[in-house]
Symmetry: C2
Subunit: 224 residues, 2 copies
DNA sequence: AAGTGGTCTAGACCACCTT
DNA sequence: AGGTGGTCTAGACCACTTA
């Protein structure tokens, strides 16, 4: 973990970095809704900075796929419809399958322990009903496995733009039995990794992804 | 095709858009080499604009994965080693397999005709030995198929950052028999699509990608 | 035809890396 | 401490959108 990284979790040292993180949070928490316009003056006034750092932040968030900018017309939060959700989960499905397929061949005992620990934490959070914490624990679990897959580009792609999906998940919540299913699917993933069973690991990971996708799409459809 | 798009091929209407395209070309043609620092003052002077449009262009290119920016330290062209090439081709392999798997189920007769036409053009260019034109014809061929896969996000991801790979390909060239193999592999892809054979289409596409990867890696290794 | 809002220039400021 | 070079402010300019 380099110190100079101004990534999502770390402390931003520039104004534009701070604005970027604040905007990301606003998107995640639904303060900024899909399809909404974002003007330089508004954001600059809200956060007490000039327009330039805001513009830099917007350009970077555009690169992450969270919003769209067109010349002389400004930025709008990317609108995320059912097709977008479906497409994003399909990408995640094949990339995670690829990564777990690589991971299963090289995973070490201490890495398996870290995965199990993340899963224990996930199961603990699952009993609390705190969906924001659950989302984070789930992300952590998958990121550990993905990183062992040893393809940093793919790991980046998987998380790119995913904040939009997380925002929808926070808005629509999980289906009634989905949390319990997640726990059990994660256990299957861990078991497949421990058995170093390549085909089972990839198929279980793909099924996990499809189930998450279908649950979210059902939640979206049921609300309208 | 929207007019307001300031995308790669179209006419950029802003200074930063022009600078972005120029920088992309410079990366592609090897004027800017991997690992090289890119300073605002240099680029601004070279293209006769202020530093701000340059900075905007750099931020956007960072989002495309072509370079890295760290706060107060500036931008460097992303360095692309053998592992990076391998990883990028792995991503392309699984995403293109996914897309052709979708495409084979929905492809229409007129789309098949367009694919065949692109392949005819590719074969015509293949006889000329013009590698830049060959690269473009190859990209066009694959983009047509990918687009039929109807996952715009995935299509975007596939092309994201690929300029770095193209730059290496232009630098190292194709292996002796690679061009002929590309022609024949493309024909297999077209045949699988025409037969609407899902499994054959995905496996042929994956093999095509692996062969391209191994050829480029061999070229890189042989030069040193 | 005016208003809104994005784009660009010039210059001040300041973080980082030398000597 | 000085130099280099990225970051930010203020304001002019101009494209796009109302009426």
């Amino acid at each position: 973990m380099k110190k100079s990284d101004a990534g999502a979790g770390e402390q931003a040292v520039t104004s534009s970095g701070r604005v970027k993180d604040l905007l990301r949070q606003d998107i995640l928490r639904g303060v900024l809704k899909p399809n909404q316009r974002v003007t330089l003056a508004d954001v600059a006034a809200r956060y007490g900075v000039g327009q330039m750092p805001v513009r830099h932040a917007l350009l970077q968030l555009e690169g992450e796929g969270l919003l769209e900018i067109s010349a002389h017309k400004g930025a709008t939060i990317r609108r995320a419809d059912a097709k977008f959700v479906y497409d994003m989960y399909e990408i995640r499905r094949v990339l995670e399958a690829m990564l777990i397929g690589s991971a299963v061949k090289v995973v070490r005992a201490d890495e398996l322990a870290a995965i199990r620990k993340a899963q224990d934490h996930f199961e603990a959070v699952a009993t609390t009903g705190n969906e924001a914490a659950l989302l984070k624990a789930n992300t952590d679990f998958h990121n550990i496995i993905n990183r062992i897959g040893n393809n940093p580009e793919a790991t980046r792609y998987i998380n790119r733009g995913w904040d939009l999906i997380h925002a929808m998940r926070l808005q629509f919540g999980f289906g009634r039995s989905r949390v319990a299913a997640m726990v059990s699917e994660h256990r299957s993933i861990v078991a497949a990794l421990e058995a170093r069973d390549h085909d089972r690991a990839t198929s279980v990971a793909e099924e996990h992804c499809r189930a998450a996708r279908d649950d979210l799409l059902a939640r979206i459809a049921s609300v309208g």
